[in-house]
């Protein structure tokens, strides 16, 4: 289920004194099974762009084609499209609206026209995928969940619709380290085992470096960079200029390089950094 964006423009509050161009000539193709990170400063258009992927925004200028169907087409089946392209919002409070976990997760499948055992099956399956125990959490009050559990319930609610593409909009903001690691584990597993396309919007460079295979960098509504994670993080200076940063391991690697050691470019994970630095220490400084 590929997504294709051609010449997409978008203005916020069009026709008012607060009118602002949010997206400017976006061209982008996302293929099946990709894990793609979208990064950029606040108000660079990340969320607006992603909400075009599941037709929460319909282009007025430019085209968004999901699985061959133009979202602006009057006959397009947007409800099915939104089930295929799941969207998890930053704040789970907006997304969870049934009183209990089970009922909330069943909400999507019910809208799909499913009933009875099929719904129960979907709920159980989705809860297993995000690691919420069926027996313990099915009847649990939404408001009695912790921050991390709420986010997992929100993801389960989307997974129950069997999406082929999952958009995650800054879902780890405000989570403690353990909650964050648990969520990241769930996402990694979904991508690996079910080959779901993941579109991961985040303010954390560390997370994006760790997870994404490809990164799109937005800057004031334009695509500044689009490439593999390694490529993107080799543009350190441009990223700083946009208001972004390097993942912390890369900052350390850079400082180590300044000492005169030779390291491979764009080290993305801690394991890579440990291996590279120990190899470099064994080899000793590069004579200049």
């Amino acid at each position: 289920m590929p997504i294709e964006v051609n010449g997409l423009f978008h203005s916020y509050k069009k026709g008012t004194p607060f009118e602002k161009e949010v997206l400017f000539d976006i061209n982008l193709t996302i293929d099946d099974g990709e894990f793609i990170g979208i990064i950029g400063p606040t108000q660079s258009g990340k969320t607006t762009l992603a909400q075009h992927f599941n037709a929460l925004f319909i282009p007025r200028q430019g085209r968004v084609i999901v699985n061959g169907a133009n979202t602006a087409d009057k006959t397009a089946d947007l409800v099915t499209l939104r089930h295929n392209v799941g969207y998890v919002f930053q704040n789970p409070d907006y997304q969870l609206f049934a009183p209990t976990v089970g009922e909330d997760i069943a909400f999507g499948p019910r809208n799909q026209g499913l009933a009875g055992e099929e719904i129960e099956h979907r709920v159980r399956e989705a809860m297993e995928q995000v690691g919420l125990d069926y027996g313990t959490f099915l009847g649990r009050d939404i408001y009695a969940l912790s921050g991390g559990q709420k986010r997992r319930a929100a993801i389960a609610g989307v997974l129950a619709c069997h999406p082929r593409i999952l958009i995650l909009d800054d879902i780890t903001a405000g989570l403690d380290p353990r909650g964050r690691d648990e969520i990241l584990g769930v996402i990694r597993k979904l991508h690996r085992e079910q080959n779901i396309t993941i579109i991961y919007i985040s303010n954390s460079m560390d997370e994006v470096a760790e997870l994404a295979e490809r990164i799109v960098v937005l800057d004031r509504g334009r695509i500044a960079f689009d490439g593999t994670t390694r490529e993107i993080f080799s543009h350190a200076e441009q990223l700083y200029a946009i208001g972004l940063e390097l993942p912390e391991v890369m900052v350390i690697a850079d400082r180590f390089r300044e000492l005169g050691y030779s390291l491979p470019p764009a080290i993305l994970s801690l394991e890579e950094a440990v291996d590279a630095i120990s190899t470099a220490l064994h080899e000793g400084r590069v004579a200049d």
Binding site: T16, L56, Y87, F97, F107, V158
Partner: protein
């Protein structure tokens, strides 16, 4: 989907025009005078003059006319409903039936009343919108508090009332933002807000209200906690960074309002039909 786009009430549009520079008290009193006048106007001639006046104010204050009008959009269904009610239900002895349908019949006085009330609401809304678009929250608060000060003597907590009102106004936009997010979250999970007939659409709206109010209350509570922790304890003992003073512009504005009111009063008294 962009619900916040049509919200104009409670939004401040920064500027340096004649209208912006007026003392907030001048603007508040002028608005009150205009609103009182509106309650008495019953002729299309007076509304015509009123229209010219408000259009001129909008022009001078640099508010894009389209923007001033777009705030009316969300109110349209209510206005239409009101107009229909008046059309069919209001009648005086001796009024002529224009047309009838089933058990309802519309009269000419009903039509006239419907028109007048609709115009009145439209203008009421426009006057308050101009006031809030050209006056920042804080100067609006200052002005109101200052004007209501005498009422403290009879035990009315004027400053607290004003603060409550100002925050309520701020929440118009917050509620719209919240609604926008929740509707989107529901659409993302398969609720087709954009499909079905009126009844089906209304039914779909209901599940939105619970999270809307929970989130709005949460935000209100956070705002109150933040205000409290910045030593806000109501109006007592508060001072102001900017002291209010009336200037030459206020004199000019006062004069204009006086002349305008005189004209409207003249029309009301001499030309307007007495119903």
């Amino acid at each position: 989907m962009e619900l916040t786009k049509n919200i104009t009430l409670g939004i401040y549009l920064p500027g340096e025009t004649f209208v912006h520079r007026l003392d907030p008290r001048t603007k508040i009193i002028a608005s009150v005078i205009l609103i009182v006048l509106l309650l008495f106007i019953r002729s299309y001639e007076a509304y015509g003059i009123f229209l010219i006046f408000t259009a001129a104010v909008i022009f001078i204050s640099g508010i894009p006319p389209g923007f001033a009008l777009c705030g009316l959009k969300p109110m349209l269904p209510v206005l239409v409903l009101m107009w229909i009610f008046q059309l069919f239900l209001y009648r005086t002895p001796g009024s002529d039936v224009i047309f009838s349908w089933w058990i309802f019949s519309a009269t000419d006085t009903g039509l006239h009343m419907g028109n007048l009330i609709t115009l009145r609401v439209l203008f009421l809304f426009t006057v308050t919108t101009i006031l809030t678009l050209t006056t920042s929250m804080v100067s609006l608060t200052d002005g109101l508090e200052n004007l209501l000060k005498p009422l403290r003597k009879i035990g009315l907590p004027s400053q607290e009332l004003v603060m409550t009102m100002v925050i309520a106004l701020r929440f118009v936009l917050i509620l719209a933002e919240e609604l926008d997010k929740i509707v989107k979250a529901q659409m993302a999970r398969g609720v087709a807000f954009d499909r079905g007939n009126f009844l089906q659409k209304t039914k779909k709206i209901f599940p939105v209200f619970l999270p809307l109010f929970i989130n709005a209350f949460k935000r209100a509570e956070e705002l109150i906690i933040a205000m409290e922790s910045r030593s806000y304890t109501g109006g007592k003992g508060r001072t102001k960074m900017k002291t209010l003073h009336l200037g030459r512009v206020d004199l000019a504005a006062g004069l204009l309002i006086f002349l305008f009111s005189a004209l409207i009063v003249f029309i009301i008294v001499s030309i307007q039909p007495q119903i």
